[in-house]
Symmetry: C3
Subunit: 261 residues, 3 copies
């Protein structure tokens, strides 16, 4: 097995101060010594499944095929929520069935499997990342098929609010993410825009007035100016050149704007 088939990424809401992420890394290195463990983040807000889901969308597809993406944002650990292994695109995904894979299962054909807890020894009730998800990754690295420790799953938990066509030329968009730089990202993509005819004369209604058109890049606005542009994953975003749009506009996940042509 070459290195391209031995990468495991970790996205969690654990923080790092408690050593919990360290325990997962230990389990992975002990189970498959040639694994390459890649930190994505351990600073997802505690229990913020939607933030984790959006982050995953931003990096998953840039990795070599067969990379195993573990995601542990898991407020329901210790309840009956399922643990999943998903094959989607060229990748494996492991984590809880709580919507954190919403973007993954939306955009690809996929097969999902529910992990059988009894396959895993010494499972604590509070730390499935260490006791189930990391060992499940080891089994995939060792060449096991998911059917050997999981069974087919359907009806995955998923959320993704599509934009709403209010009238022939008006669309209600929802904020799905605000990032570290204060960019405000909406549930409206380049393909969505093409579907409505790639209009160039668009406007977005904010409390403070209208934004006109979609810029190409930050440099098309003067410093401090608010603008709309496409983010690096193809979603519509509102940004402030060299500033924080989310703070200035006081917008957060779940807020709406009207987009019209």
């Amino acid at each position: 097995m070459n290195r391209k088939n031995s990468i495991v990424t970790l996205l969690t809401d654990f923080g790092t101060q408690d050593g919990y992420v360290g325990a997962m890394k230990g389990v992975l290195l002990d189970g498959f010594p040639n694994v390459t463990v890649v930190d994505i983040s351990h600073e997802i807000e505690p229990f913020n499944v939607r933030q984790g889901a959006f982050a995953l969308l931003n990096y998953a597809a840039y990795f070599p095929e067969n990379t195993i993406h573990i995601v542990v944002v898991d407020p329901g650990v210790g309840t009956s929520r399922r643990g999943l292994v998903i094959r989607a695109g060229d990748y494996w995904f492991i984590g809880p069935d709580n919507g954190v894979f919403s973007f993954i299962v939306r955009s690809d054909t996929f097969q999902a499997y529910t992990l059988r807890e009894k396959e895993f020894a010494d499972v604590s009730s509070t730390f499935h990342g260490r006791d189930i998800f990391a060992p499940a990754a080891t089994r995939l690295l060792l060449g096991q098929a998911p059917q050997e420790f999981a069974e087919p799953a359907a009806d995955l938990t998923s959320f993704y609010d599509p934009y709403v066509e209010v009238s022939a030329n008006e669309y209600l968009l929802t904020v799905i993410h605000t990032d570290h730089f204060g960019n405000i990202i909406f549930n409206f993509t380049i393909p969505d825009w093409k579907k409505i005819g790639s209009p160039s004369n668009i406007k977005i209604r904010l409390k403070s007035g209208f934004l006109y058109g979609i810029k190409n890049t930050f440099g098309d606005a003067r410093e401090g100016q608010i603008m709309a542009l496409w983010d690096s994953s193809g979603f519509l975003q509102i940004s402030r050149n060299r500033g924080n749009a989310a703070e200035v506009l006081k917008m957060q996940v779940g807020d709406h704007v009207m987009f019209s042509t």
Copy 2:
């Protein structure tokens, strides 16, 4: 030497903004090119030796044997405090003698050695992580015995406050850690509980009333409820289902509760 014998983990209170952790990684990679450097955390609170000690307990034993765990939470750098190499269980530990290895030297037979500073070239007075601890790890990776650069040490600094038996059925417990999710962790373990007869009818006195029994998992309480359960390392913890118990109960390290049967 296979990969299982070339892992070095790093736990520090350095933060990452200054590049100090980066310097340690450079020294390790330069000294032993096949090393696998594993970040545990660099976000231990500055100088919080107890927090570092507890984190170490959570991950150390999950790594492959011979892993070298470097811990640099070192308020006494530049004083006469000793630098240590410890062999405990199947692992190596390197760091200052200030109690950060309290849990390690409590639970295992071990050998400890004091690093001889003069063995290390160009030692700055303020950055032993880079100038002594990382090079000491390199020497172990290269196959040197600790005796080649350190001498036997006794009387290590250690803290661990055992719980106090107040009466035949009353025990005073102390908070030893609060984690990222607000779980409150006490100096009372599953073995301690077995020693007193594995009582199922226990109660814990809080300012706001009593907690009864030890739950199996978060799912045994309703959302927002406070409960007692065993943490993933076998310590008693008080948690709030999908919430932050430490914030709600205003409890912190050093606080006490009465546990009775």
Copy 3:
């Protein structure tokens, strides 16, 4: 190519919550499977180019030769600012031309090259870290010379305020960094001090009085005491033993002190 020639370090102001750093790691691992990706920090303050520049100085030279240091603190992404590849000392540096390499190009002979954007496919306007800088590192790892995808550059953006000789024995120093522990670091190095005759009877004027002499280490002051000493990279720093000097003295980057002999 052995491992010593396949290390890429990452210093960014991205945070990790959005998955952007993860995307860069995916591109690097996909482009050159044997790469060793090393996190330095992703917690540089957004757009704080000077903080990034100082951090880089602290770790760059500790890595094996031919390490590629990528730095993405890039408030000007999407403007006409140049993207650079620099060869300085035994290392490669890749990032924007905005001063983040000020210390690198100050202290070494170097060759700099401007990246040709058209050499890189599918360049987003907002994420050059993923679309240009990481792929440029891949090209170096694959053995390409910078001339194959970049052209010679001159007149790099640089800042470094030298200390000012106010009179024969008075020098005005400027704070260039405050670190995670509250150490206050000045634009005055051990070589600068030797140049003025290595005076031992120096004093530094603070609002609250004078500091006398340069201590050897933290242990030469009592707990809580303010002192001057040399930092681990050879800059003059003011520190507080087991405390935070920057908070206590309310000093920040750009502030001045008078140093006299």
